[in-house]
Symmetry: C2
Subunit: 189 residues, 2 copies
Amino acid sequence: MNKPKALSVIISVVVALAAFDADGSGSNVFSPYVNEAGKIRVPKNYRTGWTFLGTWSIASDKVEGGAAGFHNVYTQPGTIEAYRKAGKFPDGAVLVKELLKTKTGPLTTGKVSWGDEVEGWFVMVKDNQGRFKGNPLWGDGWGWALFKADNPMETVTTDYKAECLPCHLPVQQNDWVYTYGYPALKTKR
Amino acid sequence: MNKPKALSVIISVVVALAAFDADGSGSNVFSPYVNEAGKIRVPKNYRTGWTFLGTWSIASDKVEGGAAGFHNVYTQPGTIEAYRKAGKFPDGAVLVKELLKTKTGPLTTGKVSWGDEVEGWFVMVKDNQGRFKGNPLWGDGWGWALFKADNPMETVTTDYKAECLPCHLPVQQNDWVYTYGYPALKTKR
């Protein structure tokens, strides 16, 4: 490859990279995980690059004392610090609730459950400006979307009011989030 | 303050900062969380700046179906990527197992437990060079230390062989770590 050709290739690569965020996907001004029409996707690097908020363990009705599943919640870097300062989630904050299958067995600390394969994700994106009016995944200050494990790019949610809000009703007065399960929001460490 | 005095103050501050790591504590060449004598402490910013590996939920013998505690495990940035490449923890890798009390109640997804106050921490520091020979907190490729919630700077462990190894014996052949509870080490996300 001659020098002008090589330079041209390098410039093309740089320009292409500049159009994508660090997560390797297209972004808009509001959020790298939401496209211009309000379509939400699961962030790619939440396990290696995001911060953990807390686990919800669901009691099993089959394995006595065991967990039927773990719901592990992550948010992007900076959200915890912003929440500690303002007492609320900042515009653009993303909550990824990873749904894990579990295994249970007798370990040296007793009967213990641990996380295994991913079953899916709930994703919430904070929106203080009501950006996507008329989009049935957006409203009440958030974008709402559930994803099955085999497709983190396409939500299966079609109407957040019918499919998402009912489970969050008990915490409506807390901006719809069960923050009491996220000790990192209140306790410094 | 005159200019030479101000400059002197600035230089002093810069020199002082250079002796400390980003975590705000003294460091040595090996690890910011281990001093020259091999004394281990709990990293300060693991909740906001580290990556999450997995939760172990311990079955309660009091609350039917509930968890008596969560053990949430974190490691510093870069460790997951290094493990995925090499299939083992790199020298200096730190595992912080945060021991949380839990609460259990009927939520919209069923009987659910969630994390609450910190009870303490187990900390392991990977040491491939046998740096602290004769120190009873170091050996078998790791530094080992338990901390109570009220003192993250001073371990209560006095002898890792008697106090730490017994619970890790089932995974001796896996470098003493229960990696099967850490899906992030094997699955990309």
